[in-house]
Amino acid sequence: MKERLLGKTLSELEEIVISLGLKKFVAKQIADWLYKKNISNIIEMRNLAKNTRELLSEKYEFGLTAHQSVQVSIDGTKKYLFPAGKNQYIESAYIPDERLEGKSRATLCVSSQVGCKMGCLFCMTAKQGFQAQLSSGEILNQIRSLPEKDKLSNIVYMGMGEPFDNLDNVLRSVEILTADWGFAMSPKRITVSTIGMIPGMIKFLEKSEAHLAVSLHSPFEEERKKLMPIENVYRLPKVLNAIKNMDWSGQRRISFEYIMFKGVNDTEKHIKELLKILNGFKCRINLLKFHPIPDSPLESSDMRTMEWFRDQLKAKGVMTTIRASRGEDIFAACGLLSTKELVKRKTNNDF
């Protein structure tokens, strides 16, 4: 099988062209075609000599993979299904937002893994287990092959998988999205979300300027570990400490995601503890409704409770918003992405 060019950084492309006996500047031309223009085949790279294109095509392919299906929500959200490797599939959610006056915004929620290893109690992706890491090309293909590509204003790594469990590929994809030779997007338009895998998070904060979102869901360690097994390894106080020790003087933002579970994490006690642990952070809290998944012991808090929770936090000076649910009817909303029925099971994962 030919190797895909999509997903290669400029320095990787330089290595490729040099190994083929071509001039180094050809790498920049290839990057231009891969990330800035609308072609889909090496043969269409018109400013490259014909024999150069042929030479490249012998070993490499452009690397685009079209979506296999799309579902459209009544609210305009679209859920795309992309093949990723043999018998593996991922989903991406395209979320247009016309409501902001004058400025329309469109966000793509991309996946970073096929499945996920983290086993959070409230997440549908967790139920399918882990199948594969996505390459940087497979991450970027979700963007590059999107029919609405030119309308995109924001990218969030909040689809299937834990981005920092696939750190190298995620970092490469962010580099390509933000580099001048790449998509040249502002890092301010990119948010990477984590459940708090500390080593990967620190590297990400050192190496990129994109925003960070941390899934919090409870300020209490004992409670959090029943919702999110990762708490048993990377404890919340350590996650917060690691964040505090980084440089936040620039325009980079941090947000904490907080799914609201009825009777579990939506009380006065939680507000007080949140204020305590987030004291000193310049951050935003996004409150999310819980989208029920099969056999879940959890229920969502009602809207009144969520509004009360938000108002209490705001009154104490913490920027807090309730994030609108999008694409719930097509299972595109937060925590609902799954390709469980489609992925090929590994044969050696018996236990």
């Binding site: 290893k117 983290m118 882990f130 048993n232 390894v233 018996d350 236990f351």
Partner: protein
């Protein structure tokens, strides 16, 4: 001695294959820890450390871990070649998957036994039940020791072979068939994400409150 990444060099005392493809690596203990904690481990600075649950008692002289060979993994390939007297790099122990005095079920798949073995060696076990799943009969490392003390509170589930006193089938099948689980006990799970998610769903379907289920996932 601590290096820049917070890792310490320690001397390897033994590195033994205790079951097909499963190794017990022991080093001289230089830190205190709590049973259930993990260490980050690597063989040299060029390779990203991986996390391993400690598989020895809090008072033991040696600190041990269990590992299996990951086919695509450079680290475990190198770990396999380590000999007595070599040095490896480990972090200070950390993590919060800790045993308590509560009555509890320990449910482990494969090398997920490690934290429970550490708890077994470190504290009271008269109110603990251990359910261990493995593919082959050789998977039940430490079984003599465990059986002697836990007796009928120790259950082995073997998915690919049959043997005397061993439940034939996956541990998830065993759990599905088992009629009742005390709802006031704690349930500690350790294994792959698939094992943890499936086991948790079975326990929830048997009305175990989610607050009583604590999981550690190997990633």
């Amino acid at each position: 001695m601590e290096n820049q990444k917070g890792l310490f060099s320690v001397e390897v005392v033994s590195n033994v294959e205790i079951s097909k493809g499963i190794f017990l690596l022991s080093v001289k203990r230089i830190h205190d820890f709590k049973a259930g904690q993990v260490i980050a481990l690597t063989v040299n600075d060029g390779i990203t450390p991986r996390l391993y649950s400690i598989c020895s008692g809090e008072e033991d002289e040696l600190l041990s871990i269990l590992y299996n060979i990951v086919p695509e993994g450079e680290l475990t390939r190198l770990m396999r070649m380590i000999k007595k007297g070599d040095t490896i790099k480990i972090s200070t122990p950390f993590g919060n998957f800790l045993g308590t005095d509560d009555s509890a079920y320990w449910i482990a798949a494969g090398t997920g036994l490690a934290p429970f073995y550490a708890m077994f060696k470190s504290a009271r076990t008269d109110n603990k039940y251990l359910i261990h799943g493995g593919r082959i009969l050789e998977s039940f490392y430490f079984q003599d020791e465990l059986m002697k003390e836990l007796r009928s509170r120790y259950v082995r589930c073997c998915s690919q072979q049959s043997g005397e006193g061993v439940y034939e089938g996956r541990l998830t099948n065993y759990l599905r068939e088992k009629a009742e689980f005390p709802l006031d006990h704690k349930y500690y799970l350790c294994g792959s994400s698939e094992m943890v998610v499936q086991t948790r769903d079975i326990l929830l379907s048997k009305n175990v409150p989610f607050e009583n289920i604590i999981a550690e996932i190997y990633f």
